[in-house]
């Protein structure tokens, strides 16, 4: 019984960690940009945390306009990205140039059917919550089947793993040297 509780706890814990990293770290999709649009978004308690704040320097209101970038992926399915400033908040992308990115996306949409783009983004698309991944960068690529290596994620995850490992080992040593001896006599 205790084993079940223990394993459930670990499973949930690691699922949350993995989900957090999957949501926050940048990913690149290869897409064709078909257009851009702006909708008014009324946030609810359910989906508010999946949106950033108002553009850097602006006031925060209950609802606001949201820039969207409509794309078609390599497999022919569509993907919609939002285009919001992360500003100085979380996640720390320090993205302040949403309007510029929107202009780039509009320019890219004129070359629909010809040019493929790598769109860097974080976040997930969920139709149930009406949330979109946030596009952070748009750059042209040579062809649809270009191979993109996520160097940043490789380096970041390696450093994170080393960091966690270092803390883990020190905690373990601390317990062996300082806490376990207290119980040995008892």
């Amino acid at each position: 019984m205790f084993a079940v509780v223990r394993w459930t706890f670990f499973l949930v814990f690691w699922a949350v960690v993995a989900g957090f990293l999957y949501y926050t770290l940048p990913q690149r999709d290869v897409v064709q940009v078909s257009g851009t649009e702006i909708i008014r978004q009324d946030f609810s308690g359910w989906n508010r945390i999946f949106y950033a704040q108002a553009d850097a320097g602006n006031a925060e209101t209950i609802n606001r306009d949201l820039r969207l970038i409509n794309t078609v992926r390599r497999n022919g399915r569509v993907m919609v990205y939002r285009n919001e400033d992360t500003g100085f908040g979380w996640p720390p992308y320090f993205k302040l140039d949403s309007s510029n990115l929107q202009a780039e996306a509009q320019n890219a949409s004129r070359q629909n059917d010809e040019q493929w783009y790598a769109i860097t983004h974080y976040g997930i698309r969920s139709e149930f919550l009406t949330i979109y991944p946030n596009a952070t960068n748009l750059s042209p690529v040579d062809s649809a089947d270009v191979r993109l290596i996520p160097w940043f994620n490789i380096v970041f995850l390696t450093v994170l793993l080393a960091f966690v490992w270092g803390i883990w080992v020190r905690l373990k040593r601390f317990r062996e040297n300082r806490i376990d001896p207290l119980f040995e006599d008892a």
Partner: protein
């Protein structure tokens, strides 16, 4: 921005103060150990005091400013790469 900068400064200041106190204590320990090993004669206090004066001007002490410099440079660099490159 106006929320991040004060939080950043407070956290970095705490780290800076802790690190500089730690480094100073370490420097003093080093000097006392050196006195105990090599000299063992003369004024111990004066020896340590002189050593701490040279620590005051040392590169090691100035490097602790990196606590402020490195994160600020990192953020400025990130802003440039993300928005202006």
């Amino acid at each position: 921005m106006f929320r991040l900068i004060p939080i950043f400064l407070i956290v970095l200041t705490v780290i800076y103060v802790c690190l500089s106190l730690y480094s100073r204590a370490k420097a003093r320990d080093r000097l006392e150990a050196q006195w105990a090993e090599d000299l063992r004669v003369g004024d111990r206090e004066a020896f340590v005091r002189e050593g701490m004066d040279s620590y005051q001007n040392s590169l090691r002490r100035k490097l602790i400013w990196g606590v402020y410099v490195v994160p600020i440079l990192a953020v400025v660099g990130l802003i440039y790469v993300q928005n202006f490159m």
